[in-house]
Amino acid sequence: MSSSYLLNRLLLAVPTLAGAVTITFVLLRVVPGDPIAMMTGPGATEADIALLRAHYGLDHSLLRQFVIYLGQLMTGDLGTSISLRQNVGELIVGRLPVTIELVLFAMLTAVSLALALALKGTFWRGRWPERIVDGFIGIVVAIPDFLWALSLILILGVAIPVMPIFGRMDLTISFDSWTNFYLIESLLRGQLEVTRSVLHHMVLPAVSLALPLMAITARVLKSCLNAEMNREYVTLARTRGFGRLRVIYSQALRNALVPATALSGVQFTFLIGGTVLVERIFGYPGIGNMAIDAVINRDLPLIQGLVLTFAVLFIAVNLLIDLFITFLDPRLRHD
């Protein structure tokens, strides 16, 4: 595979990241108000405030602050959280596995459901079940993730309480995690009771996140599949003994995935963004939940670190999507 292409994409990500850093920094410095005054709370004297201001480097000029910040970033230092009084990098690294597991699980759910829907919809092309699939997709797509979260809590958490609606696992089970990747780690260590509990807790938040992505992906994939089904090579395959379902998944699918992935790729980053609200609602201890607290507490270093983390995640997901497309379509590899 062309490593130069990969390298090119990686290089392109650098200025994007640099831009993200700059914008985050500037955006948060134009905040009206004094983060220090808020951080000290009632009772701080002028001297206390000045002391803290110096401690956080806020007594320098904006440009100077930026240079200092960049310098710290280079050494991997994201600063110290104001409200949580801990190294921002450590805080984020501690919580990131939670969000990553949730996001991956949600994406997996979304993609498998979307595949099933799109394939079935295509299989039923031009017949009434296709209309049901289309209608279902159309309704699901109109409801944002956090409304799903609320509805799911109401239905499966309260009305028929079969699902846990808060937290990451049953806290009566004790699990001393080394990596904070509970799901993967508990599986590897064979503590299936933990795996079960983590999965159980993950279902509702993951489904809330997954449904909108599922709908939009299914819709895009289905229309790409429809376009693909009209192509000559598919017709030809039908004449050569490929069954109606088989021709869809063995011939059309991979081709349809190329434009579908390109079109819905950005939706995957929306799912990651969705964790902010959904983690909040389910009390899921990931970085999304932390982000809202950071905004509420006006914890500048933490907000900065989190926004940057999200940006890195987004860029990484976009790179992966590019890679996936190149993997799918040989024409892109040989150009």
Binding site: G19, L27, L28, G138, I139, A142, S223, T269, G288, A291
Partner: protein, 288 residues
């Protein structure tokens, strides 16, 4: 067979596309409700009556016919608040979507038409923008600007112009290759004039589709911001505020949450349907 219908005027075809008709119908209803809110609403949406709080809808046993859909915790008329909420939702949707479209389209056209450095600069900016999580960014933005209708609109515009920019840029690049642009240049029109007089009208259908979809997004964003408690402050009734308020009493008075949620879902659904319907009509690719 099908080509025959392509000759019909576009408005005719839109009016014969069921999804577009559904979307237009609901949108029209929303606009009518928003415009006539003062006459439609049976009460002042801010008028409180602490002695008459949590009245159920009027058809229920203990309901009061004066309050069609019941009252909330402060004894305000839910129906009137929903009606005035439609107003806010429409204002946010229209203003935010239009401004985002204006910004995104301008930049997208410039990038797509002039290419080169302009394109690189704008595309880069879009890439950077897209690398921020929209929800977090809007929360941060509103926290920075301060809650209020204007803050919600500004946040939506700042975040969502990229949606327009990306698509319009790509479409402008396609249009640029068309014959009419080349012939425009040969007859001596300036490039800017071609962009405005020739390319722009050809982008319009696509733009309208994007605009309807964005209106739906804007309504959702307002709900999200209200949900986090950062949207329009003061008493202004918005669907988001109603959802946030209703959520607290979900067990006692489920309709306080259900009604505004239904409004949001229905309006987004109809705007999506309208966008899809128009796209279906104007987009030859999907017309088979």
């Amino acid at each position: 067979m099908i080509e025959g219908r392509a000759d019909l005027p576009i408005t005719y075809r839109i009016l014969h596309e069921p999804r577009a008709v559904f979307g237009l119908g609901i949108l029209g209803l929303m606009i009518a409700v928003a415009l006539m809110a003062p006459w439609l609403a049976p009460h002042d949406p801010l008028e409180q009556d602490l002695l008459a709080s949590f009245l159920p809808p009027s058809w229920q046993e203990s309901g009061d016919p004066a309050f069609l859909l019941g009252t909330d915790t402060l004894g305000r008329d839910v129906a009137s608040r929903l009606i005035y909420g439609t107003r806010t939702a429409l204002i946010v949707a229209l203003v935010a979507a239009t401004l985002a479209a204006l910004l995104g389209t301008t930049l997208g056209m410039l990038a797509g038409f002039y290419g080169g450095k302009t394109d690189m600069l704008i595309s880069r900016a879009v890439d950077i923008w897209m690398s921020f999580p929209a929800v977090l960014l809007s929360i941060v933005l509103v926290a920075v600007i301060g809650a209020g209708l204007h803050a919600v609109i500004i946040a939506i515009v700042i975040i969502d112009w990229t949606r327009f920019c990306r698509v319009i840029r790509a479409e402008t690049m396609v249009q640029k290759e068309r014959d009419y642009v080349a012939s425009g240049i040969t007859i001596g029109l300036t490039r800017f004039r071609i962009l405005i007089q020739e390319v722009l009208p050809n982008l319009m259908p696509l733009l309208i589709v994007l605009l309807t979809l964005e209106m739906g997004i804007a309504i959702v964003v307002e709900t999200i911001l209200s949900f986090v408690g950062l949207s329009v402050a003061s008493d202004t009734p918005t669907w988001g505020n109603l959802i946030q308020e209703g959520r607290q009493y979900i067990h006692q008075v489920p309709w306080l949450l259900g009604l505004p949620v239904a409004c949001v879902v229905l309006s987004v659904l109809s705007l999506n349907a309208l966008g899809d319907g128009i796209k279906e009509v104007i987009d030859p690719e999907t017309r088979q």
